[in-house]
Symmetry: C2
């Protein structure tokens, strides 16, 4: 099992602010741009494409997870938030339990948590 | 780390169908009744109380998780769904990956998934 934290990006998402699905999907665009942006940096987390985080009404969606950490789903995201997503991922990776205090989250993402799941112990 | 699946119940939840918070909270009532109901049976999953699954608009909320499995958050739950939650927990515990096919979920819970998080591998 990986010891790194992970940012999983739903590539089948349609943006909640869009009128309908696009080709490629908004989630795929978000994934591609995140990979491109993070390739230039040494990120402390992995990025993975996933199909559906069951948050379809509030896309685009990503999940942050890591060994022994609370897992978080964020929604209502778009490609304008990539720098803030990178920063959130860095901060998440730097925690032991996955809990990034509210005030330490990038401001654009503070109201975007959809749900969280406790770690197994 | 536990090898058992786990049902985490948010005990600070207010029911989304209620006009306001109660004392005890609806989530605490759900937890107490689940523990009482499951004590009579040999359940293949653990039940834990947790504080906040960040799904406050759609309480009551629970999370299903297990080693190597997709984690799921369910919302808009109430104490009338306890038998179905037990059945869902049993079916979840019986999977290798946490994915209970939609048609195999208790009907009352099929529209209650809020989000899911992929397993680490």
């Amino acid at each position: 099992m990986t010891t790194k934290s992970r940012l999983s990006i739903c590539t089948t998402c349609t943006s909640s602010s869009a009128k309908g699905a696009t080709d490629p999907r908004h989630g795929r665009e978000l994934f591609d741009k995140m990979v491109e942006s993070c390739a230039k940096q040494d990120m402390p987390f992995d990025i993975r494409a996933v199909e559906c985080l069951t948050n379809c009404k509030s896309g685009c969606s990503v999940a942050l997870s890591g060994p022994g950490k609370w897992g978080y789903v964020y929604g209502n995201l778009d490609t304008g938030m990539i720098d803030d997503l990178c920063e959130l991922g860095r901060r998440y990776a730097g925690t032991n339990d996955g809990i990034v205090p509210w005030r330490e989250r990038p401001e654009s993402l503070r109201r975007n948590v959809i749900a969280r799941i406790p770690p197994l112990d």
